[in-house]
Amino acid sequence: MNKEFVPRITSFLCKWCSYTGADLAGTSRLQYSASIIPIQVMCSSRVDPVFLLKAYLSGSDGVLLGGCHPGDCHYETGNYHTRRRFAIVREVFESLGLESDRLRLSWISASEGPKFARIANEFTEEIRLLGENPTRKSIFL
């Protein structure tokens, strides 16, 4: 028996763009990695930076945050705030030498089914190379 690493990627998707884009990928029967575990939120700006931390420390191998393209936010400006918050979390990770590549922000519109599938696959592959999230086994967390 040999073990193949199947990453688990917590994916926060905004209802209006990214989640719809993910649906479109499915409707178009585009095949992408099953590692993507979607969580629908009203807006990417609903995602508290602490959610990203919590997902990471709870053992998600990757965390994907999907929102509408800048300027397209269903709630006018939500994704601009998301972007700043994400930049902060990423910088915190980098400053502490944590694997910031496990966190990813993507703008995926409702018509970008192919883009969703591509990002899903690319990100999964990147995570596969990084390996299992070490927090999974850490008893100190």
């Binding site: 420390l57 930049a87 902060i88 400053s95 030498g97 086994k137 850490s138």
Partner: protein, 364 residues
């Protein structure tokens, strides 16, 4: 911009000023460090009667609490307060005012160039008293006293930013210069109109601190390198923060943690049965209380861009985690994402309250 010179030591001149402000009813009270004669202990005190100023030691290199934190709440009382603040305390005050936690309206802020404060332990056990002469001597030579808090040694903001009244303390003074008050803005001019001294339009010359600045820069690099070495990667993170006992003392003394109740103490972070069991069974063991590391990472995302590096958090940590060093280092990086400098200006917008349409195009 103007200045007033008094032919006295800086400490005495400052005490005169505080006395004048109280006696001439320019303020209702003054906020200053004080030494309790009976016990020799230090505290931060609000004094209304100039008769009690004898105990005041406004320039004492001790910080029992970040005065900016205390002052911001007091400032909403409507009382007029003159406060002697260290530069980081002044910056903390500004950060809090920007978050509606205080108001500068009734305050007269007095600040001074700072050579750092002693860790609370030395202040409490009295060992500081023996080190004080050396501290003053080293400081006056423009070097960094070795006895102060780590973050003080590494401090890059030891010249206060826009207080109403500024003084140059040890190290920033020319020999025999006496006490010079640099006034900025109408509020100070108004309050000191009848204060006696030689008026001038002298402007503080920071070049006298170039040597200190260079030394501090070196200390900062050294400190940050140490953090980088000790606290890097998940292992490093556990190494440093694994000791955390979850007392949350660091956030309680933090001047930027203004929250009435900390989110990390809310029910959001209670044990989440049955998933708690899930974690437990998967990892085989789990430390309690949980989420201690997450608490620090969370705080870093919440407030690091506003960290003023006062060092209170490290000082109160019962298990000796270098919280302040980690936070000021990461904070410098998160703030610089937005060209933000905490406490620099009242009008500089807090990064998470605003955005630019064109920025961070590399993300997403």
């Amino acid at each position: 911009m103007s200045s007033i010179s008094i032919d006295k030591s800086v400490a005495m001149g400052l005490k005169d000023l505080l006395g004048y402000l109280l006696d001439s009813d320019k303020v209702d009270s003054v906020l200053t460090m004080r030494r309790i004669p009976e016990t020799g202990a230090w505290d931060l005190a609000l004094i209304t009667d100039s008769g009690n100023l004898g105990e005041a030691e406004p320039l004492a290199p001790v910080m029992t609490v970040n005065a900016g934190k205390e002052l911001s709440s007091l400032s909403l009382s409507g009382k007029r307060i003159a406060a002697v603040l260290k530069p980081c305390e002044l910056r903390a005050l500004i950060e809090r005012v920007k978050r509606e936690q205080g108001s500068l309206q009734n305050l007269l802020t007095i600040s001074h160039t700072c050579s750092g404060v002693f860790p609370l332990e030395q202040a409490a056990d009295g060992s500081m008293n023996e080190l004080l002469p050396k501290y003053e001597k080293v400081a006056s030579m423009g070097e960094v006293p070795s006895s102060v808090r780590d973050t003080c040694k590494a401090c890059q903001h030891f010249i206060p930013v826009h207080p109403d009244i500024m003084l140059a303390s040890a190290g920033a003074q020319r020999p025999g210069e006496g006490c010079v008050l640099y006034l900025e803005g109408g509020k100070a001019e108004e309050a000191l109109r009848e204060f006696r001294g030689v008026r001038d339009d002298r402007v503080f010359d920071p070049s006298s601190l170039d040597r200190t600045a260079a030394a501090r820069k070196k200390e900062r690099d050294r400190l940050f390198a140490r953090v980088e070495n000790d606290c890097s990667g998940l292992d490093g993170l556990l190494n440093v923060f694994g000791k955390c006992v979850g007392c949350h003392g660091c956030s309680r003394v933090c001047p930027i943690c203004y929250c009435a109740l900390c989110d990390f103490e809310s029910m959001n972070f209670d044990y989440n049965l049955p998933y708690f069991e899930e974690h437990l069974s998967r990892r085989g063991a789990l430390r309690l209380p949980p989420d201690t590391v997450m608490f620090h990472l969370g705080r870093l995302t919440h407030m690091s861009f506003s960290c003023v590096g006062c060092g209170m958090c490290s000082d109160v940590c019962p298990v000796g985690i270098p919280v302040a060093a980690v936070f000021s280092r990461t904070g410098e990086r998160t703030a610089s994402l937005f060209d933000y400098v905490p406490g620099r200006s009242l009008t500089e917008e807090i990064p998470v309250m605003v955005f630019k349409e064109e920025e961070f195009s590399e993300l997403g």
